[in-house]
């Protein structure tokens, strides 16, 4: 069955905006609207009828963060995917843990297929971070991440990218139970309380905060 998704694209570069719009409208089941700045999105979009907002971070009259928050106030179920030419994943560190936003880099080898996969995953409630950003990071000395083993850091990178334990097991070629053990050990090392927050999002935030 074709998944129907309604997507709002907030991007200030006209050519890129048009290309995104054209791409998304060509996907069966997808509908898309576009705006060039926060004011246009505010005036012309109905957040209740959107499933995912694809937002540029730096905009002429504000930020994608502010725009995303405003849209989520109107529709708490709206998924947000940030798209930026520069690595601004630090922005995610200070988000509320309920704000499970995804992040893609315009500079990485983000392909049309990857963008569409990310939009679908975000709409399904996953929090995806561009793998190229994650793998380019180095763990900073002196933090909690520095106490993890190399294998645990590798698993945490994949958790931060938004992969499920099953996908991690497939990617690393190990058993699902091993991945479960690794992930639980990581949560314990990072002192993540699984009762109080989404542990995958909390782990991803720690990864972004403690790498450079």
């Amino acid at each position: 069955m074709t998944q129907t998704l309604s997507i709002g694209v907030l991007e200030d570069q006209p050519l890129f905006r048009e290309m995104l719009l054209h791409l998304l409208r060509s996907v069966p089941g997808f509908t898309a609207v576009a705006a060039g700045d926060c004011a246009a999105a505010r005036d012309n979009w109905d957040p209740q009828h959107l499933d995912v907002a694809l937002l540029d971070v730096e905009l002429p009259d504000g930020t994608g963060i502010d725009a995303g928050r405003a849209l989520q106030r109107a529709n708490p179920h709206l998924a947000i995917v940030l798209l930026s030419a520069v690595d601004r994943t630090q922005l995610l560190v200070d988000l509320d843990e309920r704000e499970q936003w995804s992040y893609l880099s315009k500079n990485s080898s983000t392909s049309a297929a990857k963008l569409i996969r990310t939009l679908r995953a975000a709409a399904a409630g996953h929090c995806i971070i561009d793998p190229e950003i994650i793998t380019s990071r180095t763990v900073r000395a002196g933090g909690r991440l520095a106490t993890l083993s190399a294998r645990h850091v590798e698993v945490l990178q994949l958790v931060t990218e938004g992969l499920t334990n099953q996908s991690i097991a497939e990617q690393l070629g190990i058993a699902l139970s091993s991945v479960n053990n690794h992930v639980n050990a990581i949560y314990a090392s990072l002192d993540i309380d699984r009762e109080r927050c989404n542990p995958r999002v909390a782990a991803a935030r720690i990864f972004l905060a403690e790498t450079a």
Binding site: V86, R88, Q90, L91, V93, R140, A141
Partner: protein, 385 residues
């Protein structure tokens, strides 16, 4: 007695105030002196005979009386200036004014008696005249003091305006100096480090090209491919490190997104071998700083980080961002060497001046195990940028 913006008035100002007091007292006093002369001529007429049996004519008599009155005015004016009543507390000034008035009245009375100004059959007239003079003299002195007070206020306001204009000009100058410094830094990096590295990369690519032109076997092909990959990696590193650093020197990364994102972006550029801790407490989102204040706090953090890395041999860095009591605070603490006795603080001093111009403060504290650079600015220095 008179409020003045400066607690200890400058001698030049004191002299000018004394001159103004004398002038005011003399001008009003002269009016009274001639008025009193005319009044006494009309009331008492010209007594005769007198001054050793010789009668004076009306003109000479009026001149005599006016001279005594003018002399009295002179005594009041010079006495008040000499006793500096404009610089004394209220009650001392009032006592001095009374003293001057009594002395002037006594001298005048003595002269009137000496020159038989009043008819001999009315000796009490001299006493009445003297008693009347005291309140008139006090009123004249009071008027003089009030005029000096107004003049001081006007001067103080004028100087404040002048000082504000100078501060504005200095701030502009500092801004221009800062811009020139940043331009020079960017130009030096472009011209020096970056240009050299581009030359090396171009040479490496040229060598690979020449090798390919002359034909290569499988082993050489791998070497060339490896060299091209190295060039690509270095270009990527140049883009990521050098160009981002240059761009940040011109305008800090993520500044438009808020203080916290800009500060985090800055701290993320510190080499990962150095432990960095960032804590954010009660900083409103979006932060209530205007763009200039936000820039100043980010520059303060940058200064703290670069000083710690350059001079402080930092082994660990901590950044604290905090909003409290209507202020936004940014503190960079580093573990390492304490600041040396005469550090090159010109950059800090410039920055400190700009921060205090906006009502904040920049403090460098030396600690036994390092240093802390703390900057704060009032929150709500403008609409969020």
């Amino acid at each position: 007695m008179i409020p003045d913006s400066s607690r200890d008035p400058h001698p030049t100002d004191q002299a000018a105030d004394a001159r103004l007091l004398i002038l005011t007292v003399v001008l009003i006093g002269v009016f009274f002196a001639f008025g009193a002369t005319a009044q006494s001529m009309l009331v008492h007429g010209v007594p005769a005979p007198r001054l050793g049996g010789h009668a004076l004519g009306p003109v000479a008599e009026a001149t005599l009386r006016a001279s005594i009155n003018l002399l009295t005015v002179g005594i009041i004016a010079l006495g008040a200036a000499w006793m500096r009543i404009i610089d004394r507390p209220l009650w001392i000034a009032a006592a001095c004014a009374l003293l001057v008035s009594v002395v002037a009245a006594t001298v005048r009375g003595a002269l009137q008696l000496t020159f038989d100004v009043h008819p001999v059959e009315k000796p009490l007239d001299t006493l009445h005249d003297a008693i009347t003079l005291v309140p008139v003299s006090l009123a004249v002195l009071g008027t003089g003091v009030a005029i000096v007070a107004l003049s001081r206020r006007a001067r103080s306001a004028d100087r404040e305006r002048h000082a504000a204009a100078i501060r504005a000009a200095e701030a502009l100058d500092e801004l221009q100096q800062e811009e020139i410094r940043v331009r020079r830094e960017v130009a030096d990096t472009l011209h020096g480090t970056l240009q050299n590295r581009f030359v090396m990369l171009a040479a490496s690519l040229a060598e690979s090209g020449a090798q390919l032109d002359s034909g290569v076997d499988a082993a050489e092909s791998r070497v060339v491919a490896e060299r091209v990959r190295a060039v690509r990696a270095e270009l990527e590193e140049l883009r990521e490190r050098e160009l981002r650093a240059l761009s940040a020197a011109l305008y800090p990364e993520a500044l438009d997104l808020g203080l916290v994102p800009a500060a985090r972006a800055l701290m993320a550029r510190i080499p990962p071998s150095i432990p960095v801790h960032v804590s954010v407490n009660e900083v409103p989102v979006p932060d209530p700083l205007d763009r200039t204040s936000r820039l100043l706090l980010v520059r303060a953090i940058e200064e703290g980080v670069s000083n710690a890395l350059r001079h402080g041999e930092a082994s660990e860095l901590a950044l604290r961002l905090e909003g409290s009591d209507g202020r936004i605070l940014a503190e960079v603490r580093h573990l390492g060497a304490a600041p040396v006795d005469n550090p090159e603080l010109s950059g800090l001093a410039r920055l400190g001046g700009r921060i205090s111009d906006r009502g904040g403060e920049l403090i460098l504290q030396s600690k036994p195990d390092g240093a802390a650079l703390r900057a704060w600015l009032p929150a709500g220095t403008g609409a969020p940028a």
